[in-house]
């Protein structure tokens, strides 16, 4: 097991080959490449329907340099449990193509549609059965693949094609579903949030997720230039802003003696130590076209304030849980 550092991992062969057809500036491949650099050895990935799946497997090309299975929208977690069970069964019997592997990193990639809405029951079932796999939620906050429809992961007041902003209704009316809390409530050994702006943090958390016995859940923040309406070179700086405004705090949650133990990671821990460095959420909203109706034709301070209050409350609850 090689020690992880940026220089060494940069020489590791890519798990996701170039030539895939994701949009220029897409966050998916940034995160997936980092996660695949943190694998320990033999890896099998499965991915639910979504941008990542359609863009990396256009007939007759495949971008995956690792064994990869495509499945339907709702069952990425179920397919991953099947792979893990097959490996365990072959290990036990001592025969079969997977029997020789001491470790096997089974990864399920799914988008926010495939996790928040459609794949939730398969995910919940797999977590309850306790399969040893890693579930990666690639959260770009809408169904981008089919044309930017709202999902359970779309934030409040964001304009999408099925929650358009007009003179009466200002975009999506509901708040984002607390998927991390739902997953943590299953009592699984490892849950973490990932932000591509901190590559070392992403790789360290992914490695921990692979090494932990039992299911692990990683929630990754994926910028989408097309759906969020921002210039394509801003993907990383916007992701960084999401954590700096505490809209997407970075933390990990482990299970110790049956209790969830929260620990803030680098950038979020720094904000907890120096609350003055927390940026206003307006800075994040103003740079995206999906929130444009909050600023033009007239500024909707009431909505911006309610988003800020929601973010502040979630952040305070997290600080309480982390004991800071």
């Amino acid at each position: 097991m090689s020690e992880l550092n940026l220089k060494q991992a940069s020489r590791k062969p890519e798990g996701l080959a170039a030539g895939h057809r994701l949009c220029a500036g897409c966050g998916h491949s940034i995160v997936v490449r980092m996660i695949l650099k943190a694998t320990r050895g033999p890896t099998i990935a499965t991915s639910a329907t979504g941008c990542l799946e359609v863009a990396t497997s256009i007939m007759p090309y495949s971008s995956w340099n690792i064994p990869w299975i495509h499945n339907a929208f709702e069952n990425a977690a179920a397919t991953a449990s099947g792979i893990e069970s097959a490996w365990q069964a072959q290990r036990k019997r001592g025969k079969g193509p997977l029997a020789k592997y001491e470790t096997l990193d089974v990864i399920a990639f799914a988008g926010d549609g495939g996790t928040y809405d459609i794949g939730l029951q398969a995910l919940s079932g797999a977590l309850e059965r306790g399969h040893d796999f890693t579930y990666v939620l690639l959260d770009n906050e809408a169904y981008m693949n089919t044309g930017i429809q709202r999902s359970g992961g779309t934030p409040f007041a964001a304009a999408t094609t099925t929650s358009p902003a007009g003179s009466v209704i200002p975009g999506k009316k509901e708040w984002k579903k607390p998927i991390d809390d739902i997953v943590i409530a299953h009592g699984i050994p490892y849950v973490a949030t990932l932000n591509p702006a901190w590559p070392m943090d992403v790789m360290r958390k992914s490695r921990t997720a692979f090494e932990v016995e039992g299911p692990a859940f990683l929630h990754a923040f994926i910028g989408c230039p097309r759906g969020w309406r921002y210039p394509m070179e801003k993907t990383i700086s916007l992701s960084r802003l999401a954590t700096q405004t505490c809209l997407f705090p970075l933390y990990e949650c482990t299970l110790e003696e049956g209790r969830p133990v929260y620990k803030l990671s680098g950038p979020s821990a720094a904000i907890a130590r120096r609350p003055a460095s927390k940026k206003p959420v307006e800075e994040y909203l103003v740079s995206q076209g999906r929130f444009r109706h909050l600023f033009r034709p007239e500024k909707r301070d009431d909505l911006i304030d309610s988003i800020q209050a929601w973010v502040d409350q979630k952040w305070e609850i997290l600080l309480e849980k982390a004991g800071v």
Partner: protein
């Protein structure tokens, strides 16, 4: 009279991926390409991680090398380089 149906060996290959996407060059998507000034480079490797295509590889000396035939010209590398040694240049 029914004609003999083709056997499994005679059927054409179905929806099976047969090629690596490395054969599909996405370099012609973009109009801007990154140009690196290696004198300023500190070998931090961040451009390699932030590139969505994997089109920036680190060579044996630890410096970045851009593979133009895959670069879609998004400009994340130039935006994020801590010492600003990458510049986007219009090529089309």
């Amino acid at each position: 009279m029914s004609t003999r149906k083709p056997s499994s060996k005679e059927l054409p290959i179905g929806a099976v991926v047969t090629k690596s996407s490395m054969e599909y060059e996405t370099g012609d998507w973009g109009v801007m390409k990154p140009q690196t000034d290696l004198e300023k480079c500190t070998q931090c490797t961040l451009c390699h991680y932030f590139c969505p295509e994997g089109a920036i590889t680190m060579n044996d000396d630890g410096y970045p090398e851009v593979i133009n035939k895959y670069c879609k010209g998004c400009g994340i590398c130039a935006e994020e380089c801590p010492v600003k040694c990458i510049e986007m240049v219009r090529t089309k």
